[in-house]
Amino acid sequence: MVNDKNSQKIVDIIQNFARKHSLFVLAYGTGCGAIEIPPTMTSRYDAERFGIRGAATPRQADVLLITGYLTTKTLKRVIRVYEQMQDPKYVIGFGSCTINGGMYWDSYNTIKVLDKYLPVDIYINGCMPRPEAVIEGFIKLQKKIAEGRADGAKQYKENFEWYRANQKKVLGPTTPHIQEYNW
């Protein structure tokens, strides 16, 4: 096959097909949007028919859902959780607090733009998004994986210095100082 930047090899196509049809979501609700996860996963708006199921620890998970606002106290722990997951991994930002600060736009404690601290693949807007919107967000993520454009993890590794500088600006002296928390 022609090996230019836009075409994928056959191996990648098969791997992406398997990856997009079985997503393990880490069961960690960071903010008040986590109340929309149980209706999505249970009987009425069934998300398991797409292969999505919950995982218990970051080592077993693929997708990290940032549901809602992130205070600086939570951001430190979420960065550590994100670096413990294994490649390839995806981040979905829920709700308007991750997009532009939402309801807490003038609060002294929450961050406004998630994109500068973690590489985000899909944003789902709403306050909170309904389960139909959540499922549509997952379908968009599946399309992005199939085209091979969901490479947040690679972006994080390559621009690691820039992400760490932004995190240091907001977290102060207790930023994780080790190179990366993947041990």
């Binding site: 106290k73 532009n100 600060g101 736009w105 002294y108 929450t110 961050i111 406004k112 733009v113 002296p173």
Partner: protein, 190 residues
């Protein structure tokens, strides 16, 4: 309910003649007394042991910045007679010091830690670890009225362009591109 509140107030004034103000005519089962700050542990012990007010509901603070004082409010509740008593004291705003009361109720420890962090009130004898809610805080205590949250947020955090204030996003985009909003959309703009 009025007789119960009057009876409670009579017993309190007999035991503690230093009560400066009181207010009994709240519509439901609430009763306010105001007392100087060095008598607060004594009146709380008395309410808990001898009058049956077994439950501490909350400790909170009001910032009277024009009169330069903090007003601490202790709320206690009696499950038998179903009456709330609000015990108020005043502290000096430039040097707020208060006695520790977590030997009476243990949950007062948490409330006092929050007040120490959010308002800057020092409790003598409070034994607690340093940080509770705010980690790496480098400014004045944020619940005081002279703290400007919007300026602090602008200084410290990044912002999404097009969303710097509380104006409706539709109006911002409409002004940028020069179109006009219909009437039903203007209702929700500030």
């Amino acid at each position: 309910m009025e007789e119960i509140k009057n009876k409670i107030y009579q017993r309190l004034t007999e035991a503690f003649p230093e009560i400066t103000e009181h207010k009994l005519d709240f519509p439901y089962n609430r009763l306010d007394v105001k007392i100087p700050k060095n008598k607060v542990p004594a009146i709380l012990f008395y309410l808990k042991d001898e009058m049956g007010f077994k439950h501490l509901v909350h400790i909170t603070c009001v910032d009277w910045i024009e009169e330069e004082k903090f007003e601490l409010i202790f709320i206690v509740w009696s499950p038998k007679e179903k009456v709330k008593v609000f015990v108020r004291t005043e502290l000096d705003r430039n040097n707020p010091v208060m006695d520790n009361i977590d030997m009476i109720w243990r949950q007062a420890n948490t409330y006092e830690r929050e007040l120490r962090e959010m308002f800057g009130i020092q409790f003598e004898g409070l034994v607690a670890p340093k940080e509770f809610i705010l980690e790496d805080w480098d400014d004045i205590p944020p619940m005081r009225r002279d703290f400007d949250t919007e300026a602090y947020a602008k200084k410290r955090f990044f912002e999404r362009p097009g969303r710097e204030d509380a104006k409706d996003v539709r109006q911002t985009i409409a002004e940028r591109t020069g179109e006009s909003l219909p009437d039903f959309a203007k209702k929700y703009s500030r």
